[in-house]
Amino acid sequence: MTNLFLLQLLNGMQFGILLFLIAAGLTLVFGIMDFVNLAHGVIYMIGAYLAVTFAQMTGSYGLGLLLTLPATLLIGLLLELLVFRKLYDRPHLDQVLATFGLVMVLTEAVEIIWGAAPLSVRMPDLLSGSVPLVGPMRYPVFRLVVIGAGLVTAAGLWLVITRTRIGMRLRAGATNRAMVSALGVDIRKLFTIIFAFGAMLAGFAGAMVAPILTVDPGMGESVLILAFVVIVIGGIGSVKGAFAGALLVGLVDTLGRSFGPIILRAVMEPSAAAQAGRVLAPMLVYILMAAILAARPAGLFGART
């Protein structure tokens, strides 16, 4: 039981880290530009596809991952220049609709280029083993690497935001956009940088999970909505909130799915518990979100409503 718990704890953390990489870009874009981007999940999906393709071309997953980063950065840059830039001062409804249109366009484009059938990529031999946990349990090295890479990225992000000039501008922009602009900071350029950077983080997340998940055109959607939940829980614009929210959502979702039925079995008969657990587990995150919102409408770390 404790072994299973440890295993699921690690799985939950890995899922949470993945959500953080996606939510970080989203929350920055939300917080600083007040912009809703439904197409963010698609970029994560494209990241995974590019990683597969680049890995096949170069014969190495590591090289594929490295090539994916500038590629998704470029895609983010292009989208910002062509579409998003025109939407910043529009109502949220327009932003939602235009990016929804982009979701349709990009998803379909991916299906045209790569086909609708799921793809997979072989993980590097070096990382394909597993390490022993307590007792007979073992844990795949690759998943540990994902957790580690995510934590390093989070730490790097924290350093950039709190210790660098661009991070300072970023925080200032989130607090008062007009004032920053009046002080002579080119806010447009800042927006473009943030956007492209957020896209790269999403692409990185997609490339990281390509070896452990199947790569298909639908993979971005469920993650996108969970990333929304993460941001709402953490508070819009707060990277710290996104980190806490992502881990919370990842853990609650993973542990709820495996332990929900076990806990329910204590109070009802096994078959009913299994059924109820299966139905309730996927809803847990949303119930968590509702509870947190009821207590704190601006989210855990949010300043604004």
Partner: protein
């Protein structure tokens, strides 16, 4: 500055056109026409319901497909239990939608703007996953309905044309109801709360209560659309509440021009016809549909009707 000076006239023309359409279908010997038109009418009801809160209340719900699904599953679940009456299906759908709208609306309305959009989306997704994991009703695959709902014990809805006219009557009735709501004191308070909630509060209204009531009414109307849609397709699955569906409903409202009710009906018609037409052209129709959507949003302020009017 309306495209058509009198909405009542426009509504009469549009609904009359829908009323004579089955005769045209007979003349053309094209029974598929009635099937498509039934689908359009079902979505028109849902778009109308969404426009009521989006256009008049300023609430951008990105999760209205959940109510379509609730209505559809009310039909599936009651039919399985041996209850086939359309009236009872409607009542169950409305009751379930009201409860869901009350709970999720009360939480969502504590927030504004982007938060509201994301939270309605998240709750719809919760409903989606609930039905995906409901293995008694087919889970992800959904269930096929053995028969359509009965009307006063009669199986007349099995006839596509009879179903079509039932949906049309419902649409006209709900349209008139929606017009009455927006013209009533309630509707004016709702619009006032959209324009300036602080001022409404200052003169003694509680915007929250009015907005929540409108949200519930809209959810119930959408559930009615779901009941009819389930009957039309004779098939119910979680795909009814996919977030793409919610997005499409918002697209319909925006295509028709928000905040004018009849526009939502026109928007549903335009969007679904466009979909049908593009699907004939290519199997990759979402690419073209998405592209058109992006262009419409970028270059027109008031939906397609705004395109004809030119930029202001």
């Amino acid at each position: 500055m309306r495209l058509i000076p009198n909405r009542a006239w426009a509504a009469t023309i549009l609904f009359t056109a829908f009323a004579v359409l089955p005769f045209l279908a007979v003349a053309l010997d094209d029974s598929y026409l009635v099937v498509i038109a039934s689908r359009i009418l079902c979505y028109a009801i849902a778009a109308l319901a969404l426009d009521l809160i989006l256009g008049y209340g300023g609430m951008v719900s990105f999760g209205h497909a959940a109510y379509l699904g609730i209505g559809a599953y009310a039909v599936a679940i009651l039919s399985r239990a041996g209850i086939t009456d359309l009236g009872l299906h409607m009542l169950a759908a409305i009751a379930a939608a009201a409860v869901f709208a009350l709970v999720t609306g009360a939480i969502s309305l504590r927030t504004r703007g982007i938060y509201f959009i994301m939270i309605t989306l998240a709750f719809a997704q919760m409903a989606y996953f609930f039905f995906v994991s409901l293995s008694a009703y087919g889970g992800d695959d959904g269930v096929t309905l053995n028969a359509r709902s009965t009307l006063f014990g009669q199986t007349i809805l099995e006839d596509d044309t009879a179903l079509y006219y039932t949906v049309l009557v419902l649409l006209i009735g709900l349209y008139l109801l929606a017009v009455a709501i927006t013209r009533s004191r309630f509707g004016r308070v709702l619009t006032g709360a959209r324009e300036n909630p602080v001022r409404m509060q200052a003169i003694g209204f509680s915007p929250f209560r009015y907005q929540l009531t409108a949200f519930i009414i809209s959810g119930c109307m959408t559930a009615i659309a779901g009941v009819m849609l389930a009957n039309q397709t004779s098939y119910v699955s979680p795909a009814f509440m996919n977030w793409h569906r919610s997005g499409e409903l918002v697209v319909m409202v925006v295509f028709g021009g928000i905040g004018n009710l009849l526009g939502a009906v026109a928007g549903a018609t335009i969007a679904l016809l466009l979909e049908e037409w593009l699907a004939v052209l290519t199997e990759h129709w979402p690419l073209l549909f998405g592209l058109i959507l992006v262009l419409v949003v970028l270059y027109s302020r008031d939906g397609l009707s705004g395109l004809f009017r030119g930029r202001r």
